[in-house]
């Protein structure tokens, strides 16, 4: 084995440039695999976390007939006395926060411009809404007592050329089916770095939203966060009610899960393409080596080296190229992944209906994925070495000796 290893190592050294280029192909392939896996994982992870933080929470309590595609403000479609429900929810130890939200559809108008928005009545003091407070770009956050202030997102502010302190007209569909409008002051402008969400979400205190829409002491949903999202099923079971439904983040984010599965399948195709190109380079290198060394194969065969050992010789050369390439790929790809994990990259508004993607993707790579991809690249390179190794092993000594 030592001799085989020594020969394989020296044989690769005969044409250093070619061997290094082959290893480089494996390195680039490996780095690409890592980067692609990290970006897709980061994208999916970011979208899920974003959606949980902004929209779904870990659990939601909803009215039994809740329809997320229709914003109904009829009292029978809302949760009555939400603060009482929340008081009960908060008795469960795994619950870190429960807060009411009231949704209403409205239209912002200013001068000639208008835009459809979702008005969200929130409890400004709730830690679940800290994300909007943290994202405040200018002005102040709304307070529970505020009756004229609203919070608008950066894209909407840009569209209407608004700044904190400016006034806009807000028209709302009311509980009774009629509409009402009122002049509001832009108390603050926020960003969650999720363009699709920020351009349509206008916040006001829950009490004001209830009064403005005629919803009385009602909320559309109770937004709940837990210590650990894996506790969702357990807590949902504990909150079981005959008059309200409890929905977990898994159920609410089915589209993201499906999209993740689709992305996973799509990535496998991309992996195969990248590894296929890498494998072709390695095969080509070793086939050239076999034909250049035909006479040597004949000599080794003549002195009694059997086909499996000749095959092992070329497989070992493939393994050495794979090792060098994969180590290089891990270093190069690791550096790229690190950069995009720390700094991310801007994608702008890539959100889709039901999926809230941030405008920045941060790469995320697990040790498991890294190991799996390294093993896959290693095995593919070995498989790529099989064809030239078989050519070498099947050469008849008498023909090989003639070169």
């Amino acid at each position: 084995m030592t001799q085989l290893f020594k020969m394989a190592f020296r044989d690769l050294g005969r044409n250093k440039r070619r061997s290094l280029l082959s290893a480089l192909a494996v390195s680039v392939g490996m780095a690409l695999l890592l980067l692609m896996a990290a970006i897709v994982d980061g994208e999916m992870r970011g979208a899920l976390e974003n959606t949980i933080r902004l929209e779904s929470g870990h659990l939601q309590i909803r009215p039994l007939d809740y329809n997320e595609n229709k914003t109904s403000l009829k009292w029978e479609d809302l949760i009555a006395a939400p603060r009482e429900v929340i008081a009960q929810v908060k008795t469960i130890p795994q619950v870190t926060e429960a807060t009411p939200r009231l949704f209403a559809s409205g239209i912002v108008t200013r001068g000639e411009n208008s835009s459809g928005v979702q008005i969200i009545g929130i409890d400004p003091a709730s830690p679940a809404n800290q994300i909007f407070r943290d994202g405040l770009l200018e002005g102040d956050f709304i307070s529970a007592e505020d009756r004229e202030g609203i919070l608008i997102g950066k894209p909407l502010a840009r569209k209407f050329n608004l700044k904190a302190g400016d006034q806009v007209n807000l028209l709302v569909n009311k509980s009774e089916g009629d509409v009402d409008e009122q002049l509001f002051t832009v108390r603050g402008i926020y960003t969650t770095n999720t363009v699709g969400y920020d351009e349509r979400s206008v916040f006001m205190p829950l009490d004001k939203a209830q009064a403005f829409t005629g919803a009385g002491d009602h909320a559309t949903i109770i937004f709940i966060t837990l210590q650990d999202r894996e506790q969702a099923d357990t807590v949902a079971a504990a909150l079981n009610s005959s008059t309200l439904q409890v929905v977990t983040w898994v159920k609410m984010n089915e589209l993201i899960m499906q999209f993740e599965d689709f992305a996973g399948a799509y990535m496998v195709v991309l992996y195969i393409i990248v590894l296929g190109i890498t494998a072709t380079v390695v095969t080509n290198t070793l086939v050239m080596a076999v034909f250049e060394r035909t006479r040597e194969i004949g000599i080794l065969s003549a002195i009694g080296m059997k086909a499996p050992r000749i095959m092992a010789q070329f497989l070992l050369e493939g393994a050495l190229i794979a090792t060098l390439g994969i180590v290089g790929g891990l270093i190069f790809g690791g550096a790229l992944v690190w950069y995009f994990t720390v700094y991310g990259f801007f994608i702008g508004d890539m959100g889709m209906t039901g999926i809230l993607m941030g405008d920045q993707i941060y790469a995320h790579l697990t040790v498991g994925d890294t190991i799996n991809l390294a093993i896959a690249a290693y095995l593919i390179t070995l498989v790529a070495s099989l064809y030239p190794a078989r050519i070498a092993a099947r050469m008849e000594p008498v023909e090989a000796l003639h070169g």
Binding site: K6, I299, A302, I303, G304, M305, K306, V398
Partner: protein
Amino acid sequence: MEVTKIINATRVFKIGQMETHALRGVNLTINSGEFTALVGPSGSGKTTLLQLIGLLDQPTTGSVFINGRDVTKFNRNQRADLRRGTIGFIFQFFALIPTLTAYENIEMPLLLNGMGAVERKTRVNEMLAAVGLTDRAHHRPDQLSGGQQQRVAVARALSINPTFVLADEPTANLDTENGRQVMDIMKKLNKETGVTFVFATHDPRVIGYAERVVTLEDGMIVGQA
């Protein structure tokens, strides 16, 4: 004692529709300790006959015996096993592995035979001394002259204590002096170790070393002396 015997061997090569009769019913027996030359013009079948004796090729018809055993129908692996422990080869071109040193080239067949490290080292050093290349042990082929390379090939062929050594035009690519040196070493080792040598040549100076000369023409043995 006969080490190899060829009975009525033919070898036909087919290239497309064309058949070339390289050997046409050859009968030959080589006895232990012989120093035999196969002579004849190019295309007479010398190399083909050596390849049959060396189990690098198989006859189209006829039989090949090694040490009294019929090996005609041996498969590829059986032939490789037999070659590894029984037959030494010296080729016309300096058939060394370019990435290995002289020492490692001689060591290779011993490794394939599974010889232990200590025994191997002793044997390689003995062979290097026998061909006068102890001081060139760690040189690679491209750092050796043609004559030195062929001497390494002789040492490699003899390292396994073969039953016989087959040499195909061993001096064809050497100048007179180097050719003489290689033949002197082969002859000396034949005398000292008793190993059988069969070599193909058409060089009259080399034929002079042979104790027995087998002449081939058009794939047939036409004379023995």
